[in-house]
Symmetry: C2
Subunit: 212 residues, 2 copies
DNA sequence: GTCTATATCATGATAGAC
DNA sequence: GTCTATCATGATATAGAC
């Protein structure tokens, strides 16, 4: 693949990502994307097929590395723990860390990607369902097992409800990180991932910690 | 207002509500709404002006009674508590109870309204911002004060982060209540508000309970 | 591979008859 | 108040020149 291709492709993906994160799938037009990417309208169809395919590519580009990292972190943590359960705080770091790192990392567009992941999971589009299920199911199954060991007395239903609450808190945090200042009347800062991650870990550890 | 008016108006609002809840604002067309409501396409413009006004009316119809109920419950709880803080579990019932009651109540369309509230708060549309701020700010301020008394040692920033996590959990629970079965591979039931509310109260009480 | 030009269609909104 | 008919716009997608 030539260099010019790569740049055009990347510009489209990056422009699409930030617009999808801000406005959602239906709220974003291909014209907005090509305008921001400074490419011709036809380029997106040529490179990515239709709008749905483009959206899935944007998602896949962010979700796959994150879930790979999570699996690798889980591997290492379980090896270190031996027969013992992986500590709760470590599990929650595995859950949230890669997302906040994407948000904060060297890739300045990562924060749009992280926000988009939160948004894509909240508002389901029909054509993303099987894709998202396939992307998350493998690592979520293993993560759930590891987490389950900390609360063996909970019924499966109780466990899943608690897990659902924690996932909701994480997605909400990701989706609002860029406007926390206005949401908190100036008390919290915008994009303050350094504040968010440890507080989330503490929060989530407490939820699954030793309580009735 | 004549009876026929009211029925037409209501049919439009109810149809719009369920479609907005399923597909979001941008994903829903006026034609879908009028088709489901079995009214003419022009009726919605005649009665409600444009699409944005209709959306705001749909939201207002659900949000106003809920926040009024919350304020009344808070009044009563504070009167009962006297100088003492209102118990945490009571506060969380005030936060979540009216929403789950709308979801489960005698109005069979309430569940779409409850889901829409969750969705409207997650994915902000430019033209809803001032409306939503105005609707929630009055009661949220009082609720925050009451909740704050349980964790006076927390910094304002820590407090707001925890509150944000809890709000996110609540919104996520509301937004996914109708598809919990598929999300949990059959373990939780769909629309099981009787399972969700007490578990949320327990969860949220724990988050603000006596922990470091 | 890239762009111009365009085909095709659906949308929100309205004018005007009844 | 309600409906038919229609408008202007902007959407996705593609055909075909270069």
């Amino acid at each position: 693949m030539s260099n010019a291709d790569k740049e055009t492709l990347d510009r489209i993906l990056i422009a699409a990502e930030s617009l999808f994160a801000d406005q959602g799938y239906d709220g974003t037009t291909l014209r907005q994307i090509t305008r921001r990417a400074k490419v011709n309208l036809a380029a997106v169809n040529y490179h990515h097929g239709d709008k749905e395919s483009l959206y899935l590519e944007v998602l896949r580009r962010r979700i796959q590395p994150i879930n790979q990292t999570r699996l690798a972190m889980l591997d290492e943590a379980e090896q270190q723990a031996g027969d013992q359960p992986v500590p709760l705080a470590v599990l929650m770091e595995i859950l949230a860390g890669p997302l906040f790192e994407l948000y904060a990392g060297p890739d300045e567009n990562g924060r749009h990607g992280a926000r988009l992941i939160g948004r894509a999971l909240v508002e389901p589009l029909p054509f993303t369902e099987t894709f998202l299920a396939g992307e998350f199911q493998p690592w979520l199954a293993r993560f759930g097992q590891a987490l389950r060991r900390h609360v063996p007395a909970l019924t499966p239903e109780d466990f899943l409800w608690r897990f659902s609450f924690v996932i909701g808190a994480l997605q909400h945090a990701l989706a609002t990180l860029h406007r926390m200042k206005s949401l908190t009347r100036g008390i919290c800062r915008d994009n303050d991932h350094n504040a968010a991650l440890p507080r989330f870990v503490q929060f989530a550890t407490g939820v699954f910690g030793a309580r009735p």
